[in-house]
C-alpha cells in the first residue's frame, strides 16, 4: 500500500449535552492513500458527518475531539496553529457538503465568490484570478457566461457544481464530500459524477466520499468503510465489501438496496431501528438487530480485526 495521505488513529468525537455524552465517532482509525477514493457508508446519525467535520477541525461545540490523532502528510492536524489550520483547510483539503449549494452567498455573483477564494489564498491578481475562475467553471461544465449569475439564478445542480469548482480552486490533495449529490436528481447527479471522474483523472486528488446510498458508494469508491453507532465496523476494498461483506450489519445494509438490474427477489434488509447513542448496550451495538447475536456479543465490544490483508471487520462471529 502507498504511503497514506491522511491517517486517522483512534479518533473519538463526543457531543456533550445535559442528557449525557454521545460518542458520535468512537475509536475510528483509517487511512486514505494519494489518489484514492474512500467511501464512508452507514445510516443516518452513525457519525459520518461528524467524522468529516472533525478531520478539518470544523466541528463546533458541543462536539469535542476527546482522543486520537489526525495525521495529514506527516503533520498532526490537531496540533496545528490557527494559521496552519487555515492554510491546511484551503490548500490541502477542501470540503463539499450536502447543503453546500445553499451556502453560496446570495448577493454575490458566483464569479466573484470564486475569484475571492482564489485571491485570498494565492498570490495572484484579481484579473488572473478571474481567468482562473472562468476556467474552473468550465471544468465543472458551466459556461463562462454564468460568472455574472447570482446563486438563485442557477439550478440546484449548477449551484452544487459551483461549490465543487470552489473546492477545486486551490487544487487540494484531498476533497471531503459529504452527500454531495443527495439532494439532486439522478441525471444531474450523473452529470456531476462524470465531471468528478474526469477531474480526478486530471488532478489526482483523494476523496473521502460520504453517502448513505450504497449503490453510489459501490460505484465511486475504491475502498469502503461502514460505520454503525460511531464505530467503524468494516473496512476494505469496495468490491469485497459489496460482494462478500463480513459484518452482519454490512450484509443487511447491502440487502436493503434493491438493484436496478439483476435478479428481482424479496430482500430482508435490517430489522429494528437505529440505536440511540445515549443508550448504547454493553457489548456489540448491533446486538438487538442481529440474527447472529451470541452470549459474548452482549458482554464484550467486538474489536476491529484483520480478516485479510487490508480488510477489517468488528464482529465476534468472524
Amino acid at each position: 500500500m502507498k504511503e497514506a495521505l491522511l491517517e486517522i488513529n483512534n479518533l473519538c468525537v463526543d457531543y456533550v449535552s445535559a442528557n449525557g455524552v454521545a460518542r458520535a465517532v468512537n475509536n475510528v482509525s483509517l487511512t486514505i492513500a494519494p489518489g484514492e477514493t474512500l467511501g464512508i457508508a452507514g445510516e443516518s446519525g452513525c457519525g459520518k458527518s461528524t467524522l468529516a467535520f472533525a478531520i478539518t477541525r470544523l466541528h463546533k461545540a458541543p462536539a469535542l475531539i476527546s482522543e486520537g490523532e489526525i495525521i495529514y502528510n506527516g503533520r498532526d492536524v490537531l496540533k496545528m496553529s490557527d494559521k496552519e489550520l487555515r492554510d491546511f483547510r484551503w490548500n490541502d483539503v477542501s470540503i463539499v457538503f450536502q447543503s453546500a449549494m445553499n451556502s453560496l452567498n446570495p448577493v454575490i455573483t458566483i464569479g466573484e465568490q470564486l475569484t475571492d477564494v482564489i485571491v485570498a489564498h494565492k498570490r495572484i491578481s484579481f484579473k488572473q484570478a478571474a481567468v482562473k475562475a472562468k476556467e474552473l467553471l468550465g471544468i465543472v461544465g458551466i459556461h463562462g457566461d454564468r460568472l455574472k449569475s447570482f446563486p438563485h439564478q442557477l439550478s440546484g445542480g449548477m449551484r452544487q457544481r459551483v461549490v465543487i469548482a470552489i473546492a477545486l480552486a486551490l487544487e487540494p490533495k484531498l476533497i471531503i464530500m459529504d452527500e454531495p449529490t443527495t439532494a439532486l436528481d439522478v441525471v444531474v447527479e450523473r452529470e456531476i459524477l462524470n465531471e468528478l471522474y474526469d477531474l480526478k483523472e486530471k488532478f489526482g486528488f483523494s476523496i473521502l466520499f460520504i453517502s448513505h446510498d450504497l449503490s453510489l458508494m459501490g460505484e465511486i469508491a475504491d475502498r469502503i468503510g461502514v460505520m454503525y453507532a460511531g464505530n467503524l465496523i468494516e473496512i476494505g476494498d469496495a468490491k469485497t465489501v459489496f460482494s462478500k461483506p463480513s459484518h452482519p450489519y454490512t450484509k443487511g445494509l447491502i440487502a436493503s438496496f434493491p438493484t436496478i438490474h439483476g435478479p428481482k427477489e424479496r430482500l430482508y434488509g435490517i430489522p429494528g431501528d437505529p440505536v440511540n447513542l445515549l443508550r448504547l448496550p454493553t457489548g456489540c451495538n448491533f446486538q438487538d438487530r442481529c440474527a447472529d447475536c451470541m452470549d459474548i456479543c452482549k458482554k464484550e465490544d467486538p474489536l476491529l480485526a484483520e480478516l485479510n490483508v487490508d480488510y477489517h471487520a468488528a464482529c465476534h462471529k468472524l
Binding site: R190, Y197, P258, L267, I270, P274
Partner: protein
Amino acid sequence: MDTTNNPEVVLSVRNMIKDFPIGQSSSKNSYMRAVNDVSFDLRKGEALAIVGESGSGKSTGARVLTRIYEKTGGDIIFKGKPLQQYIDDHGTLEYARQVQMIFQDPFGSLNPVHSIYHHIARPLLIHKRADKKVIDKLVYELLELVGLFPAVETAEKYPHELSGGQRQRVAIARALAVDPEVILADEPISMLDVSVRLGILNLMADLKDKHGISFMYITHDIATARYFAEKTAVMYVGHMVEWGNSDKVTQTPQHPYTQLLLSAVPEAGQSGRRELGAKKGEIPMWKPDTKGCPFSARCPRALDCCNESFPEVTQIADDHFIRCHNI
C-alpha cells in the same frame, strides 16, 4: 402477461390536467401546466410507481386524486363511478375514506400532542362508530399489522418517542384504519434511515399482496419502483412518457427520456464515466399553450414534428406504452 387475467381496475385516470396560476392576470399564459394529459389505470392489489425528477408533477397528480387540488381537466373514475358523481351525490367522504394518502415526512403528518392510540382510534371512531372495546381491539390489531410490537405499549407513546420508520408505520396504520381501497404514497421512504426503508416497502408489499390494497408509489428511486411495483410510469415535465410492466420499463426502456434516466442510475461495480445520451438542458416550464414534446430540447432522436405536437400513445409490447414520435 395474460391480459384477460388482469385484476379489476379500481382507479382510472383519463387525460388529467392540472394548471397552477403563475402571475397576477388571468390570461391563458399566466398558468403553468404541472400535469398534462395523464391517463392510467390502477388495478386491485397492484402498485403503480410514478418516477421522474423533481417538479415532474408526481405529487401534484396524487394531490389531485385526493382532492387536495382540484383538477383542471380530465376524468377520475373510482370503482366505475366518476369523481364528479361522488361530489354530486354527497359521496365525497366515502371517496376520501377509500383513497388515502401517506406522505414523505411521517413526523409532519402526525400530531405531537396526541398519543399513537388517538391517531388510529380517531378515524375508526369517525367511520365505524363502534364502542370503546371494539375500537381498542382494532387499534391493537392495526399496530400489529404494521409491525409495531408490543401494540399496547406502542399505543401509549407519542410521535416524538418513535423513530422515523416507526412513525411511518403509524401513518400507514392510520390510513388502513378506514379500510381504504387505494393508498397514494408520496415518497414514503425517502426521509427514513436507509436501514429501515426496506421494512416499509416490504410492509406495503404485504398490504398489497395479502390485503388487496392498490398503491400509487411516488419515488425518485427507480430501483425501488421496480422492486415494489408491478407497473411503472415515467413522468417528464408533467407528461407521462413511458409506462407499463415495471420490468419492461426498467430493463428495456424505449422512450429517450426513460433511457436517459436509467443510464444515470448509480450501480455498484460500474465505476467510471458514463456517457449520457442527451443534451444538457434546462427543464422547460410548461404552459397551457406550449406545443410539442417536453423532451425535444434535449432529445437525441428529435424530429421536426417533435416541436409541433405531443405524440399519441403507442403500444410497443404487451403492457408497455410510450409517447414518442420517433419509435
